[in-house]
């Protein structure tokens, strides 16, 4: 494995920082990318896709709202509507940008967020995966799946 497998404690700290909520992430290896609807694509310095972070709609809405303190009701409404607002989408991009550091250590190559896509995913070949159930306090529960070369 070239990149680091995200650590539960580090993920909790990172989610707590970006959401402002007490985060509880628990590993749950049962998630697949087909369970998710957003894919953050991370590329190496040569532009090759090397890692992805997937999330479901409730997670996207929760993280997208929590970053700029949009009330939880806003996130709930987005889930009911089946899509997130443009502000939440911009915030989700910023959150994924911050989460990119979970894949890296002092000994791994550098990677960076390229884009966050909705629904249509580019598959990542030969990936190692780890997935988590997350509890974001008043923003509710969600799912995150990490894949890396």
């Amino acid at each position: 494995m070239i990149f680091v497998k995200p650590d539960t404690a580090e993920l909790n700290n990172m989610l707590a920082m970006v959401s402002g909520e007490d985060s509880k992430a628990k590993p749950d290896g049962s998630f697949k990318s087909s369970d998710m609807c957003f894919q953050a694509q991370f590329v190496d310095d040569g532009g090759a896709l090397v890692a992805c972070c997937y999330c479901d709609l409730p997670t996207a809405a929760a993280l997208g709202c929590a970053l700029s303190m949009i009330p939880p009701g806003g996130a709930e409404a987005m889930v009911e509507d089946g899509e997130i607002s443009s502000t939440a989408a911009e915030n989700l991009y910023e959150v994924m940008n911050i989460l990119s550091s979970l894949f890296m250590s002092n000994t791994t190559p550098h990677l960076k967020l390229s884009e966050v896509v909705n629904e249509t995913f580019e598959p990542l070949e030969a990936a190692n995966s780890s997935s988590f159930n997350i509890d974001l306090g008043k923003y509710g529960n969600g799912k995150l799946l990490f894949e890396a070369a």
Partner: protein, 121 residues
């Protein structure tokens, strides 16, 4: 109290502001800059009482900004908020005139602990 937040990440500037509010610093007034160069160009007009600065930024990084500030005779209270926090970086920051370094990911308590001796609150 006027606080200048210097970070090339818009989201990180937002998170720092939100975390400071969660830490109880409700009366802080914030200004922002995207890198050391922009901060250096505006700091005299803004006149912050405290600067919270990322380390790695394009154009002018945090330590270059701090050194430029001190060379210009500006003694504003200064702290780094940065992902990397090696002992070498901490001593480099202290030598250049920084009062503290807060490591990312941070919590409201991290800021309270770092700021209490510096701003007395």
């Amino acid at each position: 109290m006027k606080v200048m937040i210097v970070d090339d990440s818009k989201s990180m500037r937002l998170i720092v502001k939100r975390t400071l509010k969660q830490a109880g610093y409700d009366s802080m007034e914030f200004s922002e800059a995207e890198d050391g160069s922009q901060a250096l160009a505006t700091i005299d007009d803004i006149g912050p009482h405290l600067v919270l600065c990322d380390w790695n930024m394009p154009v002018m990084n945090g330590i270059e900004f701090l050194k430029a500030l001190r060379e210009a005779g500006n003694a504003v209270k200064f702290g780094f908020v940065t992902t990397e926090s090696t002992n070498e970086m901490r001593s480099l920051a202290k030598e250049a005139g920084a009062q503290f370094l807060v490591a990312k990911p941070f919590t409201p308590e991290s800021f309270q602990k770092a700021l209490r001796p510096v701003i007395g609150a």
